[in-house]
């Protein structure tokens, strides 16, 4: 089953590599991953779409990684999911009107063009992007590029990611764990 996970990951060298390596090493099917800055410097917010029988095991394994600060499975929560696609369509002059009609029908917009092609940008759910791409492929040859899905839960307050070095995120337990300083 496909699960939508949102992870906060420290922005350190190799951190993304560790996340990907773990998914590969444990035989999990990675469908898409999107990584970008969160509102907190030094912390990346990441959306991972993964095919796994046990999302619980995946989350626990991700949590073992030192740089992974938090993982949430929003699959069964209320959440929005969005992805951006760029589609370059072979577009000789006579077809341009049709392309414009179809893509505008999907809420996509033409963001560039050349003598032979137009480039369309669309941001929507992955399913709607798929439909749009399928439709324009009937008009002409296409080259597509997709960003990977971004997901965000609707419930709960807007929560700022804790800074990686902040006291509250940090110091809570290790001091009592072995008394080192």
């Amino acid at each position: 089953m496909r699960h939508t996970l949102i992870a906060l990951v420290e922005d350190r060298p190799g951190a993304l590599n560790r996340v990907l390596g773990l998914l590969r090493g444990r035989g999990l099917g990675l469908h898409s991953i999107a990584v970008g800055d969160s509102e907190t410097p030094g912390v990346k917010r990441t959306t991972v779409l993964v095919d796994t029988e046990s999302a619980e095991q995946t989350i626990k394994q991700l949590n073992r990684l030192i740089e992974v600060l938090e993982v949430t499975d929003v699959t069964n929560a209320e959440y929005v999911i969005r992805e951006t696609a760029l589609v370059k369509i072979q577009a000789p002059e006579p077809r341009r009107a049709e392309i414009r009609t179809v893509t505008e029908g999907f809420g996509a917009r033409i963001v560039g063009s050349s003598a032979q092609t137009v480039v369309v940008e669309m941001t929507d759910t992955p399913d709607r992007l798929g439909e749009m791409i399928k439709r324009v492929m009937k008009i002409g040859a296409c080259e597509t590029m997709r960003s990977g899905s971004l997901a965000m839960a609707l419930g709960g307050p807007a929560r700022r990611a804790k800074a990686a070095g902040s006291d509250d995120a940090n110091q809570a337990w290790w001091s009592q764990a072995d008394g080192v300083s």
Binding site: N17, Q57, K60, N63, R64, I66, G165, W173, W174, A177
Partner: protein, 585 residues
């Protein structure tokens, strides 16, 4: 502190007034601050600045020059497993570092606190396929708790502090620190006022009181309860608490291969080892029990057999400090996340005294049918020296004399040791379990021997595993280590594979017959004592001679070549389906 500067040395550091150090000196000082007393390693180009600085710290910690980095890593593991403190190994870049991969993987599988330090080529040439450049942090990503590449010397104090903290805290494991040569050479005034910056390294939270109450309720209502104790009990030093809980409740105790020693086997509630080569009465008890309390064990497939058929009637209570172990291999009714000792203490407080005398009697009746005269279990009637004879002699020497630890390797001899020696104390049985690394025993015994110079450290090893790392006998000689006694159970085969070929593959002994030199002669060549033993009546005397000899010894026991380990659960089957003896010829 005054050194005779060689003409190859960099300029001597300025007079003592300056707090300036090299990165390499900072690395040494970090080890001193972490109370490291010994490190195992081999120098090479990219780690030379560290070795140069180490000379100044030679009174603060000992460096043991090994003959192969794999040996250095296993020696550090032996040190760690016998003391509970992190073991430290050092190698240079490239092949030095890749030779550490096997011990790092072994430490990862067996939750051993290990800090591996590797040199790396200078930042200026990093990524340019420089001489002896290997991406060791990339290679060890999936087999370390965490790893670091340090190219800024100012990061060294905090990285070393974090690395030791991560290696020993929670579920222990290996951490690798890869330091570029220029970071070792850089001059800096180190800032030791480091705070740990590992927010993603999660705490063992307080023990959930509801889970505790539910566990206590299940245990109180059980008519056939069992305790399964794993290495977590040993790591947490929770043997006294385990004894209290067992005695308080009368629940029989099983110890896994890595749990051996967590509960004394001469205790009336100890029933033995489960799994592929576990006892019939133990596996049957697991299949019958109604509540199984697992403490610091991870339900490895060598314990569970076919996991879907494991303990079919049981509700499982799983105590573990690593949440990712809960529900990984078997379904769990109650999960208690936390330190084994804290969890056991809390559980004892929740439990009323009870007993399970009828259940225990049932188990003992099964045991009497299948396991009478344990040391000679299914010993064929032969005048040849059987492995069983060696273990009987070892068992009486070990338990008669005390003051020992035993390190075993991987294979038949390892299972016989687990079965045929009566284990009584934690950290006296050290083996390679999860990874099954042949070649572990000799170097790991060397590490344990350095940690415990007043004890006798036995390495029990097959002739296959012995020939993988026996060059560390040279290290034992050079370092003047006098308390390693190696017992080779020599059957001229890679015996466990041969046994499977015999039982499951029609005796096609493909790639398993194995020759070797005179191991006694080899020991003598390394400056140790060596003896060959091939008669039953000589086994005990040889062991006592080795024990009393003031120096390390190799005993080569030439045993019956086709002796097998029984009982045996064929791979992939339920632990209810055991082969208990040789099929009649």
């Amino acid at each position: 502190m005054t050194e005779t500067a060689s003409r190859f040395s960099p300029p001597a550091p300025p007079a003592a007034v300056s707090a300036e150090r090299t990165g390499a000196q900072v690395m040494c000082e970090a080890l001193v601050r972490e109370n490291v007393e010994v490190i195992f390693g081999i120098p090479g180009g990219a780690i030379m600045p560290f070795y140069h600085a180490m000379w100044e710290y030679r009174d603060r910690f000992r460096h043991v020059l090994c003959r192969h980095e794999q040996g250095a890593g296993h020696a550090a593991e032996g040190y760690a497993r016998s003391t509970g403190k992190p073991g430290v190994c050092v190698a240079t870049s490239g092949p030095g570092a890749t030779n550490l991969v096997t011990p790092i993987a072994n430490a990862w599988m067996d939750s051993t606190p290990l800090v591996a330090i590797t040199g790396q080529v200078s930042s200026a040439v990093l990524g340019k396929d420089a001489f002896q450049e290997t991406d060791i942090t990339g290679i060890t990503l999936p087999i370390t708790k965490h790893n670091y590449r340090v190219s800024r010397a100012s990061d060294l104090p905090s990285v070393f502090h974090e690395a030791f903290h991560i290696a020993r805290t929670g579920r222990p494991g290996p951490v690798l620190i890869d330091v570029t040569k220029d970071a070792q050479q850089a001059r800096l005034v180190p800032d030791w006022n480091t705070t740990l910056n590992v927010p993603g390294f999660r705490a063992p939270v307080d023990i959930d009181p509801r889970a505790l109450r539910e566990a206590a309720r299940l245990l109180a209502g059980a008519s056939k309860p069992l305790i399964l104790a794993g290495q977590g009990v040993i790591i947490s030093d929770a043997t006294p608490e385990l004894l209290s809980l067992a005695e308080h409740t009368g629940i029989p105790v099983i110890t896994t291969l890595h749990g051996i020693g967590a509960f004394p086997e001469d205790h009336p509630l100890s029933i033995g080892m489960p799994g592929m080569h576990g006892w019939v009465h133990v596996n049957r008890a697991i299949q019958e029990c109604d509540v199984l309390l697992s403490i610091g064990a991870r339900f490895d497939d060598r314990v569970t057999g076919k996991a879907s058929t494991f303990a079919p009637r049981a509700r499982v209570i799983h105590i573990d400090i690593d949440p990712s172990e809960i529900g990984k291999n078997v379904k769990v009714a109650v999960a208690i996340i936390g330190d084994a000792r804290a969890a056991l203490r809390a559980l004892i407080d929740e439990m009323q005294p009870r007993n399970a005398a009828i259940w225990l009697r049932n188990i003992r009746e099964t045991q009497a049918t299948h396991q009478h005269r344990q040391p000679y279990l299914h010993r064929p009637d032969t005048k040849e020296l059987m492995p069983h004879d060696v273990y009987a002699a070892l068992n009486s020497a070990l338990n008669g004399r005390g003051g020992y630890r035993v390190v075993t390797d991987v294979g038949q001899h390892q299972m016989w040791a687990a079965q045929l020696i009566e284990w009584r104390r934690p950290r006296t049985h050290i083996t390679s379990g999860g990874a099954g690394t042949m070649g572990f025993a000799v170097p790991a015994a060397m590490g344990a021997a350095i940690a415990h110079p007043d004890e006798t450290i036995w390495a029990i090893v097959g002739d296959g595993g012995f020939q993988m790392t026996n060059q560390e006998l040279a290290t034992i000689g050079q370092e003047g280590i006098r308390n390693v006694k190696v017992a080779i159970v020599n059957n001229g085969y890679l015996g466990m594979v041969r046994q499977w070929q015999q039982l499951f593959e029609g005796r096609r002994y493909s790639g398993t017959p194995l020759s070797g030199p005179s191991f006694a002669g080899l020991a003598e060549a390394y400056g140790l004592r060596g003896f060959t033993v091939d008669r039953i009546e000589d086994a005990e005397g040889a062991i006592n001679t080795a024990w009393d000899h003031d120096g390390s010894v190799v005993l080569d026991f030439r045993v019956e070549r086709e002796a097998n380990v029984f009982p045996l659960v064929p791979p992939g089957l339920s632990i209810g389906e055991m082969i208990t003896r040789e099929a009649p010829a």
